[in-house]
């Protein structure tokens, strides 16, 4: 080591870089929340298919679509953030989203007990709305993180 920078500056730079996987990302496409909502609705609908072969084939198609989407998104974003060490502003949004996901699951299960169509609509609407809100809140949290670390 021939020269040394300011260790405080090094730590600040490291903290900014550590936040980058969470806050440096391309704008989320507007079609993303409704597409995932429709996907969730389709997943619930598949559960109502009586024929085993058709149900499994449909599940395979839906899972395949999800895998393709994840691969595309990872390539678009260029980085896959760890879920364990998010900046505090974003970690809070992730926790809220997890709570929302559990509530959606319970609502869908409740609706499924009453009527399949109701469950499909519930899943589609709640997932779409939830993701739309989450994406907006995440963007605000990312902006707050960038400001804090600037």
């Amino acid at each position: 080591m021939e020269s040394f920078s300011d260790p405080r500056q090094d730590l600040a730079d490291a903290e900014r870089a550590a936040a980058a996987p969470y806050v440096d990302y391309p704008p989320t496409p507007v079609w993303y929340p409704p597409a995932v909502g429709v996907w969730a609705g389709a997943l619930v609908a598949v559960m109502g298919v009586d024929t085993d072969a058709l149900r499994y084939a449909s599940l395979a198609v839906l899972i395949g679509l999800e895998v393709l989407f994840i691969a595309w998104y990872r390539r678009q974003r260029g980085v896959t953030p760890s879920l364990r060490r998010a900046p505090r502003e974003i970690a809070r949004e992730m926790r809220l989203y997890a709570v929302w996901a559990v509530l959606v699951l319970l609502a869908v299960l409740g609706a499924y007990a009453l009527n399949l169509v109701l469950a499909v609509v519930t899943a589609t609407v709640l997932v779409t709305v939830g993701l739309t809100v989450y994406e907006r809140r995440y963007a605000r949290a990312a902006a707050a993180t960038r400001t804090r670390l600037a």
């Binding site: 920078s5 260790p7 980058a20 996987p21 974003r77 260029g78 896959t80 953030p81």
Partner: protein, 101 residues
């Protein structure tokens, strides 16, 4: 100022930034690191080669579409070295928090 614990491979600012990104990501590709570090292709290649040579990052190259995608991930040794380096920096500045970026 005690320099004990500082890792000479990680201490270079660009390599420290690359390690900080990779310590907080499952993986990151060449383009993301180049943009975030604001460096040229050749400079990033040089920095990442140094980290790879030290065993701190693993590289995966795939050919898809118009060109190959080079993806990096931090190794266990890299993760340990990065945390030790941060702890050493904190010791120097007298910070006691365990929270690591």
């Amino acid at each position: 100022m005690s320099l004990e614990g500082l890792d000479p491979v990680i201490h270079a600012p660009k390599r420290l930034a690359a390690m900080a990104v990779l310590a907080n990501a499952t993986s990151a590709d060449f383009g993301f690191l180049r943009t975030h570090l604001d460096v040229s292709d050749s400079d990033l290649s040089k920095q990442m080669s140094a980290l790879e040579k030290a065993g701190y990052v693993a590289v995966t190259k795939s050919s898809r579409g118009r060109g190959g995608v080079t993806t990096y991930r931090i190794t266990r040794a890299g993760s340990t070295a990065y945390r030790r380096h941060l702890q050493a920096l904190r010791a120097i500045v007298g910070t006691t928090t365990d929270a690591l970026p």
